[in-house]
């Protein structure tokens, strides 16, 4: 991308990407745990 200094792009990156990644990992983990919990409830 043109124009902006590298430090601005880095700030833009840190303001968005890691937090989207954290959200993705968290949502997947919670859904997996909930699925396992509901499976074990069904089994028992």
């Amino acid at each position: 991308m043109e124009g902006l200094p590298m430090s601005t792009w880095i700030l833009l990156f840190f303001a968005t990407v890691p937090w989207l990644l954290l959200t993705f990992i968290y949502v997947q983990k919670v859904k997996r745990v909930d699925r396992e919990r509901s499976n074990s409830n069904t089994d028992s």
Partner: protein
């Protein structure tokens, strides 16, 4: 005030928006059976309502007028606010909301104070009374600031005198909040959140196209002042620049425990709803905040010679917070400019309604029912909740008539007071088993007086 077709078109859009809110108030009022319905919508909200409502409440008119103005005034340095807000919202939804929901369901809490009180087994009611005092002091001034912002918006966009705008704002918010309680607050917040999102996606795109596209806009802004494109702003990389960046990013800390936001996590149907809501809350914050900053920066390019807003340069350099009204009036057709008035009012009202219900719940549930009159019937409590909400509207109304610029200071006073009193104890209550009643009281008192 010019009574021309432009004025009437804008007024019509605003009246349609008010009509929508009125309708939400009427529909929601049919769902109110008891106090639990009035304060937490019977704990029946889905993730769309909770996530949009929490974001619309967390972002007041400051996002639309303040952050766009900051983008205009300091350029890319305003991205630190985006970082702070995105971090605050993500950490809140990832680490706090689900634990909080599980515990509030276990204690059958209706308010945040209910939860804190039961969490540390406070049978003396000191925490309840203390929290009520803190909320009444800070939140009433916060509501007042929102009513004053209504007056400012009416004056800025439609040239209607300030005090009429304050009264219109109070009457509409007062009506649907008193009638429909938290149901009306959540549904109106959803509508208001969608309006804010659409507006903040649209305006930077249009502003960028007027500025000649991304590359031209960046070159133009860089030629005005190269520091507008750097993250450290005019301070440069040094103590002043770093401290300024930290101060801007610290805005996001308030999301980690503000009761006006956390009451939504009590009102959600189940813990599982919050998992899906996390995506919406984080994406909403990223898109809206980036949109606001980019709109402001693009606005700076538009005041360059030959830019679409060059004639407004002097006004904007004096008061950068006028960038959004000026941009919408100049770049959009009248109907859409009218929609932007509704969007600014939406940001104001979505904050004011939630604050009113919050203080009302502190007075009625935490103090009246729990401390003084536990035997009061549900019907009487619901009536009392409505009376208290309306009285708070009136109390908040009078300071708002002042046209002096009190909005920034009232919001700063209230936001700092609420977050410093509640956030640390709320976080500790979720993660530290050793938290005691004395610790909660000491924490809240110390931070209230500091």
């Amino acid at each position: 005030m010019k009574w021309d077709s432009v004025f009437w078109t804008k007024l019509l859009v605003v009246l349609l928006y008010f009509g929508g809110l009125f309708w939400i108030g009427v529909m929601a009022s049919r769902k109110i059976q008891d106090m639990k319905d009035f304060f937490v919508a019977g704990k029946k909200l889905n993730y769309w309502l909770v996530s949009f409502s929490s974001r619309a409440t967390g972002e007041s008119a400051w996002l639309l007028l303040g952050l766009t103005g900051m983008g205009f005034a300091v350029g890319m340095h305003a991205l630190w606010v985006v970082l702070g807000e995105v971090v605050g919202v993500t950490l809140c939804w990832v680490f706090l909301t689900q634990r909080f929901k599980v515990l509030t369901d276990r204690y059958d809490s209706i308010t945040v104070t209910d939860y804190l009180s039961d969490r540390v087994r406070d049978t003396t009611h000191v925490i309840r009374i203390l929290a009520t005092i803190i909320l009444v002091v800070f939140v009433t001034s916060y509501v007042s600031a929102q009513f004053a912002a209504c007056g400012k918006a009416f004056k800025g966009f439609l040239h209607i005198p300030h005090h009429y705008g304050v009264i219109f704002g109070m009457l509409i918010v007062g009506f649907y909040t008193v009638a429909g309680g938290f149901f009306a607050v959540a549904w109106s917040d959803l509508v208001q959140g969608i309006l804010m999102l659409v507006g903040l996606l649209l305006i930077p795109i249009v502003a960028l196209s007027y500025a000649g596209g991304w590359g031209t806009m960046v070159n133009t802004v860089g030629s005005i002042d190269p520091s507008l494109l750097t993250v450290w702003g005019k301070h440069g990389f040094g103590w002043a620049g770093v401290l300024s960046a930290l101060a801007l990013a610290a805005v996001g800390l308030g999301y980690l425990g503000s009761p006006q936001l956390f009451v939504r996590f009590i009102a959600v149907k189940s813990r599982k709803e919050l998992t899906n809501g996390t995506w919406i809350a984080v994406l909403f914050t990223i898109l809206c905040d980036l949109g606001a900053v980019l709109a402001g920066v693009a606005g700076r390019a538009l005041v360059a010679p030959n830019g679409a807003l060059f004639s407004q340069k002097a006004t904007l350099l004096k008061d950068a917070e006028q960038i959004l009204p000026i941009m919408t009036n100049a770049l959009f057709p009248t109907l859409l400019a009218g929609l932007f008035i509704a969007i600014v009012l939406a940001a104001i009202m979505s904050t004011a309604d939630s604050l009113l219900v919050l203080v009302s719940s502190a007075v009625v549930r935490d103090t009246w029912q729990k401390v003084f009159r536990p035997e009061t019937s549900q019907e009487q409590l619901t009536k009392l909740s409505r009376y208290v909400t309306f009285t708070l509207c009136l109390v908040a109304l009078f300071p708002a008539f002042s046209e002096k610029s009190m909005i920034f200071w009232f919001v700063l006073f209230a936001w700092t007071g609420i977050t410093s009193a509640f956030c640390p104890v709320l976080i500790l209550s979720l993660y530290w088993k050793g938290l005691t009643r004395a610790g909660v009281i000491a924490g809240m008192v110390t931070r209230f007086f500091l």
